[in-house]
Symmetry: C2
């Protein structure tokens, strides 16, 4: 039997949040429906953060109200603080993904928190989430490097992971927010985090800013990670490198893994169709490779 | 001490051959000089094939006559048959890279030979090359998949490798000509070829058509391969997927490997400058990630 790798689709949140294009709420719901049709069963459908800081996610309440709850998809809401967590609970998120930060520089500018303050905030919010009976996951952002401070210490990442485990986080993502990781760093950080937080499942979140995202996915899968974040079309961009590509593309991950014999449950053709549809509503080309090259054998 | 990975620059041959842009002989020589300045010590500087089939390489004799022989760079000439080998010897190539083909469909259309006919041709040409005292390498093209026939049997690749060893090939590249390989396939084919041709050094040649080129480089390096082909700017394209990207970009390979602690001897900044210069002379954007995102830490 093939090994199953689960892909968490982050296009409707991390992808759209950083894309120059703007979708209406109805278009976001069409994007979500198309992804469900392609087989997606978990996705980041919105985030409950300051609409001033992240205007593209200002309609997340409407998006969560509009998704088809008869479908089996689990809709994940992102939150950074108690206010966001309460809004996500009110919006009936199926899962809340809390954002921890591993770099001082990025943390101060992105969410006004140091790494340890972000962990304090998680400790404060976790009981609310558990009480609401909602699965809690977390992402450690800039875990492989900080755009302001440079290298990030694996000790900091390990400590955040240990605190996430104590907060009752079920699944923890290591986020390469600015796309600087290498496969060797991925393996080494997975080892470290597995020691510090042996009871949480690991998920990986890679950006393709420097072309190594699929290399990092392969390294993570080889290291035993079964859950990968990806964004249809590879949308997402990088605010620190405007010309660069965004999240690793869902269809590129699916091609590589399925061709290597893993099972993702996703339909490559429908993902490519959705990437091409995205180009029409976003008004620009998307960066994924498969949407240009097509699968193989054809 | 860091492990050294040697990069063979293929931009002046495989890159330019498939690029829509056209360089004059003088511009090719400037490209080569810029690459030397960035630290390149081995490069494919031209090919001796039919100028009707590959018009962009019609000036390879002039290119080989124009390169600065006082530099330590080894200029490699590509050849497919006896006529090409004789022209390469006349041009004083420092090394001849002979092209074998692993797929029937691609072989018939690209060089009018089946896999075994390409090996027969190598057996016929090798004595000439040895007699001239020129190092002989070979590349097995479409070793990971054929655009016409689909999957390629590892048995065929293994047999070609064994014949290459008998022909006195010192270094053998496995070529993913159309960019379909995955890291797992790379490892498995390296194992196979190492069994069939234990005395040849291995080199790998990847295209980034489906985004997995760096993943394949990492897999090859982990499997013990010390020599990687790459093309500055990632130029090269793919005749079978016109919108797709080309060879794996030299600067992307250098970033990933150097950040992971390997030593390449190449200067990332100068490679990025050369990629940007290429955009001006080719008249279009190049596809490498590092030329857009820059290194890290900055």
């Amino acid at each position: 039997m093939s090994r199953r790798i689960d892909i968490v689709e982050v296009g409707p949140r991390d992808g759209l949040q950083n894309d120059p294009g703007n979708l209406t709420t109805a278009q976001k719901l069409e994007f979500i429906a198309r992804l469900e049709e392609a087989g997606v069963r978990r996705m980041e459908s919105g985030s409950f953060v300051s609409p001033k800081a992240v205007p593209k996610m200002a309609d997340s309440t409407e998006v969560f109200a509009g998704v088809d709850r008869s479908k089996p998809t689990r809709h994940i809401a992102l939150a950074l603080n108690e206010k966001g967590v309460r809004r996500a609970i009110d919006a009936k998120a199926d899962e809340i993904n809390f954002v921890l930060v591993a770099g001082e520089g990025f943390g101060k500018r992105n969410q006004g928190m140091s790494p340890s303050e972000s962990a304090d905030m998680l400790m404060q919010c976790a009981p609310l989430i558990h009480e609401a009976g909602i699965p809690l996951s977390a992402t450690i952002s800039v875990a492989f490097g900080d755009p302001y401070d440079g290298e990030v210490s694996p000790v900091v990442v390990g400590n955040l992971a240990a605190r996430a485990q104590r907060a009752g986080v079920g699944e923890l993502a290591l986020g390469d927010t600015i796309g600087v990781a290498t496969p060797w760093q991925v393996r080494s950080l997975i080892d470290r985090v597995s020691m510090e937080a042996p009871d949480v499942f690991l998920r990986m979140h890679f950006h393709d800013t420097r072309g190594a995202a699929l290399a990092n996915v392969a390294a993570a899968v080889d290291a035993g990670v079964d859950v990968i974040d990806a964004s249809c079309g590879g949308i997402g961009g990088c605010p620190f490198a405007p010309a660069a590509t965004g999240n690793v593309a869902t269809e590129d991950v699916v091609y590589m893994l399925e061709r290597a014999g893993f099972e993702t449950g996703l339909d490559l053709g429908k993902l490519i169709d959705t990437a091409k549809w995205l180009e029409t509503v976003l008004g620009h080309e998307v960066s994924s490779s498969l949407s240009k090259a097509g699968g193989f054998p054809a």
